[in-house]
Symmetry: C2
Subunit: 190 residues, 2 copies
DNA sequence: GTCTATACTAGGATAGAC
DNA sequence: GTCTATCCTAGTATAGAC
């Protein structure tokens, strides 16, 4: 692991962009060098343990972003549930560039993924899931209803990203998100 | 490209299993050698153009399987729609080993994927999608309804695979498939 | 903290015997 | 059609100057 994580945000964002596009195995130090504008050895200066270290820094960074911009706002009971949900949708649309960018959760999760990284990703997934369940209960869903709805939502997010990447249809992700917003709204209007 | 494709099914299945587990970049000739029990040079005998050739053979093989076991049965109007749908679910549960095995559509679709392969995958995706749309219309859905339902279904398949792989929850995929069956049944009962 | 240069290894591929 | 042996390049990582 490396650095204060509060500095060099720009660097980590550049690394992130490459990992999410190429996956772990597909990402080469040369690609990272190009993408960051730093020479290979400079990268090793920042991340002595190499590629895996770089990925770890990215995953930790993304984790913080997710908590800050997605999970915390979801749980903010000062805001109306409906608004919190649509805010979240807006946030993830930006995060995935309307479906044009992959999710690290998907891209990394091939055999090789290191245990520590997988654990953190699982933790984040559960935090997000639980925040959604919380929201669901708050608007009157039973625990089971809320759980199923939340799981389904995250499944659709990941699935829509996969399919959009496959077909190149730029509206796939957005359409699913609109659908989810409508469904949530309909539930509220019952 | 290589071979009659009708022979060496066993070989291709072995290659398939490795590619779907490791992705294209993560798959090494050594892994393929171990997985097939053949020495590297023997693999090159079968697939002179190397790794990409091996992948192509796998994708073509999978394409044939999908058409034979999924798409054709879906369109077989001799069978009742309800039965065709549940048969398809059973087939894909087996195909993905109840969610424990990845989908090539997802695993390959990182930047590097070669054009020819991507095209074939897209073609297969569309064939599957259209077969579902056909089925939907047959049971009384409007074109738009059928299209949305079909897209959603395939998105859920891919998403459930991603999430199950992430969390290790062996029931994720199965649960979604049961849900889809129920929804379809409910539509029929309307 | 960035660079040029270089070491080392693993991965992709080939030659040629059997 | 399979094997052993080998080649070559690309990928990871390090040394050391500035």
């Amino acid at each position: 692991m490396a650095q204060q994580a509060n500095e060099n945000t720009v660097l980590i964002e550049a690394l992130f962009d490459i990992f999410r596009n190429h996956g772990y195995e597909g990402t080469t130090i040369s690609l990272l060098s190009e993408g960051t504008g730093l020479q290979k050895s400079s990268l090793y200066h920042h991340f002595p343990a190499g590629k895996e270290d770089m990925l770890k820094a990215v995953v930790v960074y993304v984790s913080m972003q997710v908590h800050k911009h997605i999970i915390t706002p979801l749980l903010d009971t000062q805001e109306k549930p409906e608004k919190r949900f649509s805010n979240m949708i807006a946030t993830i649309k930006a995060f995935y560039s309307d479906g044009r960018k992959n999710c690290l959760l998907n891209v990394l999760n091939l055999g090789e993924a290191k245990a520590e990284i997988k654990e953190l990703q699982n933790y984040d997934y559960n935090a997000w899931l639980n925040a959604l369940i919380q929201l669901g209960k708050e608007v009157g869903m039973s625990l089971q209803e809320a759980t199923e709805w939340s799981e389904r939502f995250l499944i659709v997010v990941e699935g829509a990203l996969v399919i959009q990447r496959l077909t190149g249809n730029k509206l796939t992700f957005e359409k699913q998100m609109e659908y989810e917003k409508n469904q949530f709204q309909q539930f509220l209007n019952q």
